[in-house]
Symmetry: C2
Subunit: 195 residues, 2 copies
């Protein structure tokens, strides 16, 4: 795994991001040293600074990349349908997307406090954009009389918090398939939000 000479592989950048993502998720940003990341990649610590100006920037770009991919991926989903089927689409998309990259999700929620103030603002803005996508669906559903929620802002946060919980217990090859999980959560979301 680790090498004592330069890799010359031309993919050191991605490998640094992969190693940092995994180590940050496992031990936490503050607990992981640049030397640990370098060891994982198979280079010396100094070499990392050819790819990132500092440790903070490494964290920020991991989180920014995750949030950007989340928004782009939701944007690529087929739209259309009534608000109820849009809510189902969001529920299933959220579960599937987040279960596919547990480390990035973990970091995006746990390491906010380790961002510099400017970087924190940038990430929070992306998160709010995603929350707004869900709240728009709920608002439309309420207007159309299809959905009934006591407060669309709180309902938005409640649904996302509930769905995020999947990542804390789901394991591949466990009792339930991904589709079964989607069905179970969708039933709970539907009954909580439907008129």
């Amino acid at each position: 795994m680790a090498r004592t000479q330069g890799s010359h592989s031309g993919i050191t950048g991605p490998r640094i991001r992969d190693a940092a993502l995994r180590l940050f998720a496992q031990h936490g940003f503050a607990a992981v040293s640049m030397r640990q990341i370098a060891r994982e990649v198979g280079v010396q610590a100094g070499a990392l600074y050819n790819y990132t100006p500092d440790k903070q920037s490494l964290l920020f770009h991991l989180m920014e990349g995750h949030m950007t991919e989340l928004l782009a991926s939701w944007g690529d989903q087929p739209g259309g349908g009534d608000s109820l089927s849009q809510l189902e689409a969001f529920t299933r998309f959220h579960i599937r997307f987040h279960l596919q990259r547990p480390d990035a999700v973990f970091i995006a929620y746990m390491e906010l406090r380790n961002l510099s103030p400017e970087n924190f603002i940038a990430i929070e803005s992306l998160r709010r954009e995603y929350e707004n996508a869900l709240e728009s669906i709920l608002k439309k559903g309420v207007t159309e009389g299809v959905l009934l929620v006591p407060d669309t802002k709180i309902a938005t946060l409640a649904v996302i918090a509930m769905l995020n919980g999947v990542n804390t217990w789901y394991r591949d090859g466990g009792r339930l398939s991904l589709d079964q999980v989607e069905v179970i959560y969708w039933e709970m979301v539907r009954r909580a939000m439907m008129v």
Copy 2:
């Protein structure tokens, strides 16, 4: 605030725990030094070791104390009633208890990975005990035909995840009172779980 001489106040122990709780919640366990905690309390770093054998033990006892208090406090709640009113009692209790001590809640969920293996097992056991309290209510409700959930284990985790979300946005003096928040969340939980 900080003093250059010993406090001689006789309450250094609690003040250390208070300072550690707040600093760990704000910056993360790994990012906080013993010197920072000592400065906050007004003693030198070495004096902390009269109260804790090491930093790990300080974290563990904060988390253990929180979980023990949570279980004891739920045990003190008046029981009785049908499973629907028990579920309402749990929902309201959970929100109220967790909003009263956001720092301890934050640490109990965020710093699990910084516990030593033995300490992790101990905390996880306490957490499972709390989850079982809710799952028992759901199971009883399903048996009695009052509640309808696709999977009691998943519903337990979904409800707790949803309720925990309150701590991420609620602020004292905000748009909604504590009672209004309880009502809103209880309506969503009730509709998601009721037959």
